[in-house]
Amino acid sequence: MSAFNQNRSRIVQLIFIGAFVLITLQLINLQVFSTKYKMAADNNAFYRKVIYPDRGIIFDRKKRAILENTISYDLVVIPAESKGTDTLALCTLLNIDTATYKKRMRDLIFKNGSVKPSVFESLLTTENFARLNENMYRFPGFSLSERSVRSYPYDCGAALLGYTAEVDTGFLRRHKDEGYEMGDYFGTTGLENSYEKVLMGQRGIKRFIRDNKGRIQGPWEKGEFDTLAIAGKNLYSSIDVELQQLGEKLMQNKVGSIVAIDTKTGGIICMVSAPSYNPNYLTGNQRKKHLVDMMYFDPRKPLLNRAVSTTYSPGSTFKTLVGIIAMAEGVIDDQSTVSCGGSYLGCGRKMGCHAVGTFTLKPAISKSCNSYFAVAFRRILDNAKINNRDVTLGLFNEYAYSFGLGKRLGVDLPSERMGNIPTANYYQKIFGKNWQACNIISNSIGQGEITTTLTQLANVMAIIANKGWYYLPHLIDSVEGGDDYQMLARFKVKQRTKNIAESIFEEVHEGMQGTMEFGTGAAAKVPGINVCGKTGTVENAYRGESLKDHAFFGAFAPRENPRIAIAVMCENAGYGATSAAPIASLLIEKYLRDSIAGPERKAKIEQLANMNLIPPQMTRLMKKEAPIKKPVSKKKEPKA
């Protein structure tokens, strides 16, 4: 009986084997050859929590923190656990209505699910935090979670310190391999941007296992593969925060900028770009609103750093350089004289002049005589020894380049402009091969095609003060724990101008001191300090409308042992001596003496601070925008 149908036993066994082989093949397919399941599993199960490091702190030259971190609180909610919350009380505390509350809850649940924590209100104000903190027991499901935000304790230095912003997709595309992720913050402008690598620190990553509803189950492998967050490195800057504050105060209601440089080190002591704003406006929960206000609705463009990102014709301050080059080339000497009858007529076209008389170099600088420098400039270009204007202009430009003009200085701020020192090539295109010195005679008094940034101008003052050498102007002196990325090395290299005799600088110093004592800058004398300065007044027009002149002032002090070089400019402020020069004098006094002496000088601060020099075309635009947005009045509000 049992022999019956026995071959069918084999068939049954074959069926069994067949099924198992099929299963094994599918297992090989799933487990050995396919990686997508492993990835899908990791996506399912891992929650990577990014531990954000504190960004580095920036200190001023006296080790006072001017950009640091503070703790801010987010109100976080787990919607599924918020059943018993006293909604009405919460809404009253947050000053929202219940409809908003419901809408937000709906959005959060839609975006993030109801069992995971989501941010209900971010960056609470201190008052809101205090009120909520007392009442948290009434709001089950809600909690306060802290996070580190940037804060500017001295409310100043917005333009140079910059701000951070959340990374966007464009940024991520551009910085693919630098480890940024959605939700990270990065320095967008100012020092925050240029020292991003140093300041950002290193994020830590904790891996958690989560379940099918997204709830955290605990660390993965007991945190064996987690990394710790490493805080960003601190930076020591050359800024003097008191000077910075004073500078910003003095530049209230003006459009322009100030750059002061430590002549010995090239460190920038203060850099003001007016109109300035309280940098803390760009940290709170109203950040976006404030940013939009300033970016789109303020015609004065407060977000623009006018010290490095705008170029101007330097005006008469450039005459110092023309004088130096002419002397160095030997086309004039300290005895050469030029007579001026109120205007320079040498080029057939009348060029106005402020001073009348016969001048040597020193008084020409002091009185800012246009004719003198027009002649000197022509002599440089029409140098008989060379007899080729293309070459002589090239020579002139080489001097200018060696003074840091016509190229980016390499200040440690983003978006620095080059300025312009026009070349012979350029003029050939405009005036043809046989262009004349008279074609470009405006350049001799710092107008025409010549443009510089204010930082370049301040640097020229420092070079004159140092008699031919300088360090690249910079804001950061050192990085705590070492300059790993060699970002500061170039600031430690002593730069030299083309070889210029010391006596030439002495001459110019003499002339510049004269400016302050009996010349155009007399209004800006600092009692007891020998300041060397040079005013500048630059004609300009905006869309065909002739506007008030830009006021410039460049100076350094004290003459015997220069410690500070400064350049001040006020857009459309008229004559340089009334605004720019006194502002510079106050800053010099403050820096050298540590305080402003005497009630008269103190009154001067208030007087200058209250002086309204906002250019009329901007005022008009502001009035037009005012009914829509009020960025101006907002800036006066205390920090929320």
Partner: protein, 449 residues
């Protein structure tokens, strides 16, 4: 765990099977433990506490050990004697569920017992049906080569299957079909299996291939066969042959165009159709389904997705070649796979021990099945042989279908992994099933009727 070495009184017991049984039950408890384990908890306490599933499973295993001992100590004549009676009782119990039934996971097939335990008669009925078929085939007056007895045997197997379908337990119903394998061994013509597989292939083709394209293919195929057959066949039989081929062609096209869509739209539930379609990687439009339309009048039919299979494949696939290691499976810990301690328990194994672990595990099962076939073939009694084949068939079907559905080779039906899945009913059924076989095997020198 379930070592019956103390039963020295029992002779002729196949200890290989007992060892395999013990190993599989142990693996099962460990798998349930993997699914339920939470890092940091005191697992010894919970093991002894009796609250967690793995600790319950341990208790079940103990009960099963007692029961197995009891079975081994009985006289094997009991099983032949009570085979038919138990079958009738089993059918009555299944009918009783329609009155006393408790709804668990959408199927009303459980009878509540004291102490919170539930009994699933359809599970137990597997044993009774196996006994009944063995009894029927082993009767001296039955000649299994004639059609009548084949039909009666089929009826014995299909009655509980039909009742299971009425209880919405499609998986259990399919298990009874596996008894055809045992019948095949006893002489059921192979044509049944071949025609059955052809029908299966045709149904599958209907799902995969475009409706009209399949009709055209079938027509061309029929034409080709007629063309070839026309020359081969003698003149007299030509008409008959062509008629037969045409009849088969009409049948196939009918099945493909009308029967299969009808079954999907009118017989099966929406979720069942969806599962079958998702297996071949297609979406099923539930708005076509009559049943779902009846239920949700007015409401748009909810579109159930293939979440289970997807998560199950992810879990198994993420195990890789060597697996993540015991208790280190992230998908298992995160409870991503639904029903992971019962029907989808294979996923925890696949994730923790990878391909190597799975292969070893399946090898163990295959060895187990072959061992049972070997036991079957050494019986002198037809009853014992048929019964052993029934056991092998049921086990094979459970294993193949359960594992296949977790890796996406078979649509999801509620079928447990024998001796591994959590659940008293399932473990108890298989224990009894296997140990009756061992008891019969111990008496293999006897000829039972």
């Amino acid at each position: 765990m379930n070592r019956k070495k103390n039963n020295l009184a029992v002779e002729g017991i196949d200890y290989t099977v007992i060892w395999l049984y013990g190993a599989l039950v142990t693996i099962g408890i460990l798998c349930v433990f993997m699914v339920e384990y939470k890092a940091g908890s005191n697992w010894i306490a919970t093991f002894l506490g009796g609250k967690a599933n793995y600790s319950k499973q341990l208790i079940f295993a103990g009960v099963c050990a007692l029961l197995a001992t009891f079975i081994l100590l009985t006289d094997s004549k009991i099983f032949t004697a009570f085979a038919n009676l138990s079958y009738v009782v089993g059918i009555l119990l299944m009918l009783a569920t329609f009155v006393l039934g408790k709804n668990i996971n959408g199927s009303k097939s459980w009878i509540p017992l004291v102490g919170g335990f539930n009994l699933q008669p359809a599970e137990l009925c597997k044993i009774f049906t196996s006994l009944a078929i063995a009894k029927f085939i082993s009767r001296q007056e039955v000649d299994f080569s004639n059609l009548k007895s084949q039909l009666i045997a089929g009826l014995i197997a299909l009655t509980p299957a039909a009742l299971s379908i009425l209880q919405h337990e499609l998986g259990l119903a399919l298990v009874y079909l596996s008894l055809l394998i045992a019948m095949f061994r006893e002489g059921l013509p192979a044509q049944f299996l071949i025609i059955g597989s052809c029908f299966g292939i045709l149904s599958l083709a209907t799902l995969i291939v475009e409706r009209d394209a399949l009709t055209i293919t079938l027509t061309i195929l029929a034409g080709l066969i007629i063309f070839l057959a026309y020359r081969q066949v003698r003149k007299k039989q030509k008409l008959v042959t062509i008629t037969a081929i045409l009849a088969i062609w009409i049948l196939c096209v009918g099945v493909q165009r009308f029967v299969v869509p009808y079954v999907f739209n009118n017989v099966l539930e929406c979720y069942q159709s969806t599962r079958i379609y998702s297996m071949v990687g297609k979406d099923y439009d539930c708005s076509l389904n009559k049943k779902s339309n009846e239920k949700t009048t007015g409401k748009a039919a909810r579109k159930p997705d293939d979440y289970n299979v997807r998560q199950s494949k992810i879990a198994i696939g993420s195990g890789g070649f060597f697996g993540r290691g015991f208790l280190k499976g992230t998908q298992t810990r995160g409870k991503y796979v639904p029903e992971q301690d019962t029907d989808f328990i294979f996923t925890s194994l696949g994730e923790a021990f990878g391909f190597v672990g799975c292969a070893i595990f399946l090898g163990l099962y295959l060895f187990f099945l072959f061992r049972i076939i070997r036991i079957a073939e050494r019986q002198r009694s037809t009853f014992s042989r048929v019964y052993a084949y029934c056991v092998a068939s049921i086990l094979f079907f459970h294993i193949a279908v359960n594992v296949s559905m977790t890796i996406g080779l078979f649509p999801i039906v509620g079928i447990t992994l024998p001796l591994i899945s959590y659940g008293g009913s399932s473990l108890l059924t298989f224990t009894v099933l296997i140990f009756i076989m061992l008891r019969l095997d111990a008496d293999r020198q006897m000829v039972l009727r």
